[in-house]
């Protein structure tokens, strides 16, 4: 099962490398989003907590713009049925999840780097905390986005429906991550944030198990 999932991931990965549809649009979206924020702020100095929150705004909307491709592209190219034939539902989900995980990590590293370059207030004091938050948070983001992408791939009006469906599901995660990011900017110790890190880990585990169990129902026609 794992080899097949990895093969599916490699197929998506190579097709992306060849055409670069998703990656280009995503990079441009990130640049546009950060530029819009910079323009709207103008010469005003924004506080550290505001910068921390805005980081996750950019991450959320970039995720909404880029992560639905995993399933929607299959529907658009008409390859869904082939995929249903050659692999079991959990294998397909593993492959797509792996692809979205890599995409989320690459995308968020770019966003974080651009962000720290553009905003002076964004200085991370507790780097270990930020790293762990980044790791756990991106995993949660990828898992939830993938299962919601699977749901909307079969619905109409996919583009507008995707953020509408994802936001309530991601809201607990975003609230926790914003709080943790603010902690890492402030320099709060790692031990004080352990409770919230544990909750992010819980969210990841719950969403992962639920997604695997429910994907069967979404995928079968």
């Amino acid at each position: 099962m794992n080899i097949k999932a990895f093969a599916l991931f490699k197929k998506d990965f190579h097709s992306e490398l060849r055409t670069r549809y998703a990656v280009n649009a995503l990079i441009m979206f990130i640049i546009v989003a950060i530029s819009v924020i910079l323009f709207s702020i103008g010469n005003e100095k924004i506080s550290q907590s505001l910068t921390g929150g805005l980081l996750w705004v950019v991450i959320f909307f970039s995720a909404m713009s880029g992560l639905s491709r995993a399933f929607v592209s299959e529907e658009e190219r008409g390859t869904t049925m082939t995929l249903q034939l050659i692999a079991s539902p959990s294998t397909v989900f593993s492959g797509k999840l792996l692809f979205n995980l890599i995409l989320v990590f690459v995308m968020n590293i770019v966003i974080a780097l651009l962000y720290s370059a553009m905003f002076d207030a964004f200085v991370i004091k507790n780097f270990l905390l930020f790293l762990v938050t980044f790791l756990l948070g991106n995993i949660g983001l990828a898992i939830s986005s993938t299962i919601i992408a699977a749901i909307i791939a079969k619905a109409g009006s996919k583009g507008t429906l995707y953020p509408v469906l994802s936001f309530p599901i991601l809201l607990p995660l975003i609230l926790l991550l914003v709080h943790l990011t603010l902690n890492s900017l402030d320099g709060t110790s790692f031990d004080q944030s352990l409770f919230e890190l544990a909750m992010v880990a819980c969210y990841d585990v719950i969403m992962l198990s639920a997604s695997y169990m429910l994907f069967d129902f979404v995928w079968k026609d």
């Binding site: 299962i147 919601i148 749901i151 909307i152 079969k154 619905a155 109409g156 009006s157 429906l161 509408v164 469906l165 936001f167 309530p168 599901i169 809201l171 607990p172 609230l175 409770f195 909750m199 969210y203 719950i206 969403m207 639920a210 997604s211 429910l214 129902f217 979404v218």
Partner: protein, 234 residues
């Protein structure tokens, strides 16, 4: 038959008691309520705000339970029951948000202050809205039922976080939050005997009303479907 009349009288009594019974310093008669510090004259909203909030969670729970039943048995009647519950749920959610905002204006000074519990009722509103948006974008009946069932289950996983965990660990204004020393008028039983009675009667009356409306709702949906199918079959 009899229970409907009982419900009518019960909810009428609750309205009369909840609105018109006076709040005095030292209650002497059975129809007077005690003065609770911090709430004073506004305490009467509790008889209507808490039941609507309670019902919106009950409705969501029922909607998810029938979604799970639909996924197990593929019977479209379960989908109709889930839909009827969600319709009532979103109505009660809107009512809970509005009554909460009105109470907030009196108690905390502004209609909305992003208090954790206010944020969570708003998140619940978003979940309901997203669920209806998803349903309206799918044509095929079975696909609509399946996908909205899956979304309902995923969304329900976030509800315990919003309703139970977040408001209690984060600092906030709503009773029962992390820095609230008196834990609210219910848990601490600052309400005296007859106030508690009216409160629980109100909860019971609204719950019976909800189940009645839900019953009528899902039956209308099922019969409308059946009649449509008969007339289109020719």
């Amino acid at each position: 038959m009899a229970w409907k009349i009982f419900l009518f009288l019960l909810l009428s009594f609750v309205s009369v008691a909840g609105i018109a019974f006076p709040i005095v310093e030292n209650p002497t008669h059975w129809y007077e309520f005690p003065l609770i510090k911090g709430l004073e004259q506004n305490a009467k909203i509790i008889f209507f705000h808490v039941p609507t909030a309670w019902l919106t969670v009950v409705a969501f729970l029922m909607s998810t339970i029938f979604s799970i039943r639909y996924l197990a048995r593929k019977n479209l009647n379960d989908d109709a029951k889930s839909y009827a519950a969600a319709q009532l749920g979103i109505i009660f959610c809107i009512l809970a948000t509005i009554t909460g905002a009105v109470w907030a204006k009196f108690a905390w000074g502004s209609y909305w202050s992003w208090d954790p519990r206010q944020t969570s009722i708003f998140a619940l509103l978003l979940i309901y809205g997203a669920w209806f948006a998803l349903r309206s974008s799918i044509e095929s009946e079975e696909k609509r039922a399946t996908l909205s069932a899956v979304y309902s289950i995923i969304a329900f996983l976030t509800v315990p976080f919003f309703i139970f965990i977040m408001p209690r660990i984060m600092k906030g204004l709503h009773p029962g939050s992390a820095d609230d020393t008196n834990a609210g008028p219910i848990v601490n039983f600052k309400m005296n005997g007859n106030m508690q009675l009216i409160f629980f009667l109100s909860l019971t009356a609204f719950t019976i009303l909800y189940f009645w409306m839900w019953n009528l709702g899902y039956k209308s949906l099922i019969f409308k479907d059946k009649i449509n199918k008969i007339y289109t079959k020719g």
